[in-house]
Amino acid sequence: MSPEELAFLALAAIAFITGLSALLVRELVHTILWIGIFFVDLSAIYFLLSAPFLGVLQLGVYAGAVTILLLFGIMVTRKRIFSREAATGIGAVPTLLSVVAFVFLLIAVTSLSSTTPTFTTYDVSALSTYLFGAGGPWVLLLSLVMLAALAGAIYLVREGRE
């Protein structure tokens, strides 16, 4: 077993545990903590897959901005920041559904060709060339959506003040 493999398995285990913990803990602020770790952990996986730009992006956007935003949301909507959520039952049906989904996905995944494909790496500059060349429409679309989202978010937040 190669070091990369070992590293991946460890990171994967961490990702699953942190994700689960983020959803299950009853203290919302702890959730933010767990999800932060989760994002950082995924960022490491991206590095492992030789996608350093995305790893950085993950760190910046998710581990940074999104986590802060979520924390901010909790702070605004709560009178006391550290308060436990009411216990919610886990529920048989959702569990069953998610287990079925997992099994189904596993089956789907194993049905894919398991021949080890060649590992390819990319330059960051190649990615940026692609993004602002052939992938231009994607970026354009993203910017449009962001603009619309900006307007929408402002509207949503403003409306109640009047």
Binding site: V93, P94, L97, V100, A101, F104, I107, A108
Partner: protein, 654 residues
């Protein structure tokens, strides 16, 4: 050209008739048109007499579907045309002569009625259609005019439409004959389909399906001489003829049809339209052919009806109805004649019968016109005030009874001797031949019962009736003319040039002219003796103004009741029609309204209930919706995963 004149009369009277100040104007137009047709018909008949067996056919395409492979390789072609041959010339004479005389008589008889333009228009239309029927050169055209005369009959029976009994009699007549008509149509289908799918290519494509002398051997050849199909087709034709000619068991409508004016009864329900059934049988037997089973059925129907109808005539108190039963009975003789292979003998009887039966009806009409009732038991002693009518009725009665030398004797006698000959070959015919002989006795009895009740005696039995008087000259001339015909029509058979009209193939037909061997003479003697016995019985019971009453406890009373109720046939048909079919219709209507629509409404309510349940699933909680989405997606995926490969294979691989 023959039917054109009455057709023009029909059109002109129906469009402008109401504007004319007097109904008679239309009547005169109709009379002139009918007279014109009569003259042309006589010319045609003379032409046929001059050249025996002439067969002239002129036809036009009516309906043409070009050929295509498969069922109709030579296309589909229906034609309309006129066929002039000896027998159509004969029928033409009957139709136009009686038609003209009845039209003339109508001017006087219908004088007091309202709606005369309608009457003359319908009568002219009838004459047009009847002439068209006689001149038809194929079965379809025959059927077309067949239905048209049926409709005219319907309207004319219902001429006094304010009378509910007239309206319902008209309906009954139409529906009962319609039963025969649709079966006739089925028969046409068999012949047409046989001919269209395997007919001679050139002949079919060029001429369509015509009455042609070659058809009978052709059909017998294609279908096999005694085949099931040919038999069935023949039976369908027989059913159609039975409906039109009021033969058992479709006889019920004719007595009720007497609700129409007497002139109509004379023309349509005695001389022409009802004879169309016989004509159809004759034409079919000549051109298309019957199988032996068909012939047995025809003999059975004819012989039985002859007797059956005569029994009902014996007790009836209504002067017109007695004559109507006698018509049914006489038509039975004609049918019998066709069944025993003497189609031309049947047509000859049709010829003589048309005259003497029209005479009887017109004479009866004269009586009704004079005293305004049809009840025999109210009449009496009219011989004194209505000498001409009484004499005319007597002539008609003698002709009907079959007393030589009057018309009915010669034709009926021929039929009976032919029937006996045939029965010697086919033992199964015997019962019906015997019935036919028995009917001779009954016929003489009932018609003289009518004569004695009406004309003999001293005075009218019901004093409230108006004083009797003869009608005007327009009514007397037809009576005289028809009396002459009634006497001499039977003798025509000895005229060689007239014989050619009864020899459609231009060759001699058995019994034309009648041969008198010793057997024939014996049979004639029997029938004359039977007729004389009938007259004697009538005189004994009713002569000199007597009225014969059955003893109160007589065993004959129930029989009389049975006969008066017409063997309960009408009641039974009414029950089938009203109780049976109408009840079925009510049930079907109920099913339609409540079961089918109820199912629809039930579905609607069920949908409502289901959606009401489903609505509860809408909790409004986002998570629940998400659960539905996920479950649905997963379901689709799983199904695709499990079934997908098979589907892909089934579609031919992807």
């Amino acid at each position: 050209m023959v039917p054109l004149a009455p057709a023009l009369a029909f059109v002109s009277i129906s469009f402008v008739g109401r504007r004319w100040p007097k109904g008679e104007w239309g009547g005169w137009i109709a009379v002139v048109a009918a007279g014109f047709s009569m003259v042309v018909s006589v010319l045609i008949a003379l032409g046929e007499m001059g050249a025996p067996g002439t067969y002239t056919d002129v036809s036009y395409t009516w309906f043409n579907l070009p050929g295509s492979p498969g069922a109709f390789p030579n296309g589909f072609r229906l034609v309309i045309g006129t066929l002039v041959d000896p027998i159509s010339a004969l029928m033409l004479l009957v139709v136009t002569v009686v038609g003209f005389l009845v039209m003339l008589y109508s001017i006087g008889y219908m004088h007091h009625d309202r709606g005369l333009p309608r009457y003359y228009a319908e009568l002219s239309l009838f004459l047009t259609a009847m002439i068209g029927l006689v001149l038809s050169d194929n079965l379809l055209e025959f059927f077309l005019f067949w239905e048209l005369v049926g409709v005219c009959s319907y309207f004319l029976i219902g001429f006094y439409y304010e009378k509910p009994s007239a309206a319902s009699a008209a309906k009954e007549a139409f529906i009962v004959t319609r039963v025969g008509d649709v079966l006739f149509l089925a028969g046409i289908f068999v012949y047409f389909a046989t001919y269209a799918t395997s007919g001679p290519a050139g002949g079919w494509a060029a001429n369509g399906f015509l009455f042609a002398y070659g058809n009978a051997p052709f059909l017998a050849g294609v279908l096999g001489g005694n085949s099931f199909l040919l038999t069935v087709a023949g039976l369908f034709i027989v059913a159609g003829a039975a409906g039109k000619s009021a033969q058992f068991p479709l006889h019920v409508w004719l007595p009720d049809a007497m609700e129409g004016p007497t002139t109509v009864s004379a023309l349509i329900h005695a001389a022409t339209m009802v004879a169309a059934g016989v004509y159809l049988l004759a034409v079919t037997s000549l051109f298309l052919g019957f199988t032996s089973l068909d012939l047995l059925v025809i003999v059975a129907i004819g012989g039985f009806t002859t007797f059956f109808a005569a029994t009902m005539a014996v007790v009836n108190p209504d002067i017109k109805r007695v004559i109507a039963y006698s018509t049914i009975s006489q038509l039975g003789y004609m049918v019998l004649a066709i069944g025993v292979g003497g189609a031309m003998l049947g047509l000859f009887h049709l010829f003589t019968h048309a005259f003497f039966k029209a005479l009887l009806f017109l004479a009866a009409g004269s009586v009704i016109h004079a005293i305004g009732t049809q009840d025999l038991f109210k009449m009496g002693g009219l011989r004194k005030t209505m000498r001409l009518t009484s004499a005319a009725f007597l002539v008609g009665g003698l002709a009907l009874a079959g007393i030589p030398p009057f018309g009915g004797f010669w034709s009926k006698d021929d039929i009976l001797s032919a029937a006996v000959q045939a029965a010697e070959a086919h033992a199964a015919y015997w019962p019906f031949v015997v019935l036919a002989f028995a009917a001779v006795y009954l016929t003489a009895y009932y018609i003289f019962r009518v004569w004695f009740l009406t004309f003999s005696g001293d005075a009218v039995r019901d004093p409230s009736l108006p004083a009797a008087h003869e009608g005007g000259w327009v009514m007397q001339v037809p009576l005289i003319a028809l009396s002459v015909f009634a006497v001499v029509a039977g003798l025509f058979v000895f005229v060689p040039s007239f014989q050619t009209l009864l020899q459609p193939f231009g060759v001699a037909v058995a019994g034309i002219p009648p041969t008198y061997t010793s057997t024939d003479l014996a049979l004639s003697a029997i029938s004359v003796v039977l007729a004389g016995a009938g007259i004697a019985t009538a005189y004994a019971l009713w002569g000199g103004g007597r009225v014969y009453e059955l003893a109160p406890r007589s065993a004959a009373r129930p029989i009389r009741q049975l006969l008066l109720e017409r063997y309960y046939f009408k009641a039974a048909y009414d029950a089938i029609g009203r109780r049976g079919i109408y009840t079925l219709a009510r049930v079907a209507d109920f099913v339609d309204r409540y079961v089918i629509d109820g199912t629809v409404h039930g579905l609607e309510r069920a949908m409502g209930a289901v959606s009401d349940r489903l609505r509860r699933a809408q909790t409004g909680v986002v998570s629940d919706y998400a659960a539905y989405v996920v479950a649905g997606l997963l379901f689709v995926f799983v199904v695709l995963l499990l079934v997908g490969p098979y589907v892909v294979n089934a579609w031919g691989g992807g």
